[in-house]
Amino acid sequence: MKLKKGKFTKGKLASLFGFKSQEESIASEGSSAPNGLMGIELAEERESVESDYSLRQPAAVRVDQEIDLIENNKISKKERFGSEKDDILESEGLTLLNAPERGAPGLGVVDSIDNQIEVDIHEAGMEYDDHLVVDFTKEQLAQCEKKLAEFMRLCTGAYGALLSTVDGHELVYLFERDLPAHKIATMNSSLLALGETIAREALQRLCQFVILENSDGRVVSLRVSNILMLTCIASEETNLGMLLRLSRNTASSLTQIMHTEDILDRVLRDRLNSKRI
């Protein structure tokens, strides 16, 4: 599927929660949260195939005016994707018009009830609901946004910070350049998983950072929790040590904010219950 370029206003709710915004451009300082085997015989028998994914590391999301509006109205919002028409967020007396030209087909649904925010994302051709089953409170989101902003302020040369799930859904981001948040979130989830896997294969434990060193800067990815990760992007003027330290500090702060262990427990419990039913 081809995605078309679009423009997101600052803090746009849809991009806040990881809709298909691969080519979305975020304005300067933009932010977002959310047999008969014909000769085949095995030379050896396979051993155990169980892998250990017990990495437990430190947590996060972002909020702004639109979320406030939504939550204050206690509404359910729907945002239709897949057309080149303007996005329309409708609620009780509230209509927000934005103009991101997105080509990603599907229907995105943002539900907000009381302090809980849940996001539905539907992907063409995929039957399961591609909505996030993890949810965070308004306060958590606001705090995370502050932490990301603090990172950007303290880290000289940093021009991007993105909080996403480990399976590639962007949650919150602050970018000072036009960057494709969705692509970065998805690719970095693969990258971090590969990094952790390589570390395990090399008999090393607890992968702390995956660092991309480039001619124009660095991209650092690290875990925030077992379901969240942080990606920090900085120019070449940034000191690597400083970048790593501030990234780690930010991740630790986000961990304390998000309580993802509780969320994961709840998700797993819900899953177990649904199976029983």
């Binding site: 399961y128 909505h131 989830s189 379901i227």
Partner: protein, 175 residues
């Protein structure tokens, strides 16, 4: 001897990781993480980068088994993983509402690769849902103007998975 590279693809939960685990001669390299979206109702973890396993034929030929992430948002990994590949194994979960559509999506996305190599289709979970039938799949492929072997397989069954590899090897030898 150069390693042959086969790629397993298909929708999330179709059994790609399991199939590779079933036949790999060593514990497969896996990049599974917790699912945070609706997929979590189907399974706890999902592959976000790749799976890698290997089997060695009795003639010493090694076959690398590469599994792709199922979700379309990881298409960039599909493009990376097919490089140097010799064939594609598409696993389709028959329990889904429209497995034929699923099949079409993956055949379309990998069409360039398949045109240069070959493919075989494995339909999983036919014991749980028997429609569409294998004949339906063949008819569907025929409508698409494609001819590939289609098998009902259990990704946990070594013989079933090896059958897919055998068929793919046979197709490659013929073509």
């Amino acid at each position: 001897m150069k390693q042959i590279k086969f790629i397993f693809t298909g929708p999330p939960g179709a059994g790609k990781t399991t199939a590779i685990s079933t036949i790999s001669e060593f514990p497969p390299v896996s990049t599974d993480v917790f699912s945070t979206d609706g997929l979590s109702s189907l399974k706890e973890k999902t592959t976000v980068a790749m799976d890698f396993g290997q089997i060695t034929l009795d003639n010493g030929q090694k076959i690398g088994l590469y599994g792709t992430p199922g979700q379309q948002r990881f298409k960039f990994m599909w493009d990376i993983l097919v490089r140097g590949g010799l064939g594609l194994i598409v696993l389709v979960d028959n329990r889904r509402s429209d497995p034929l559509k699923d099949l079409e999506i993956y055949l379309e996305n990998f069409s360039e690769f398949i045109n240069e190599t070959d493919a075989v289709i494995g339909v999983t979970c036919m014991d749980l849902k028997d429609t569409p039938t294998l004949d339906d799949y063949q008819d569907f492929l025929q409508k698409l103007g494609r001819i590939y072997p289609v098998f009902a397989v259990d990704a946990r069954n070594k013989e079933d998975v090896l059958l897919l590899l055998s068929a793919l090897l046979a197709c490659l030898e013929i073509s």
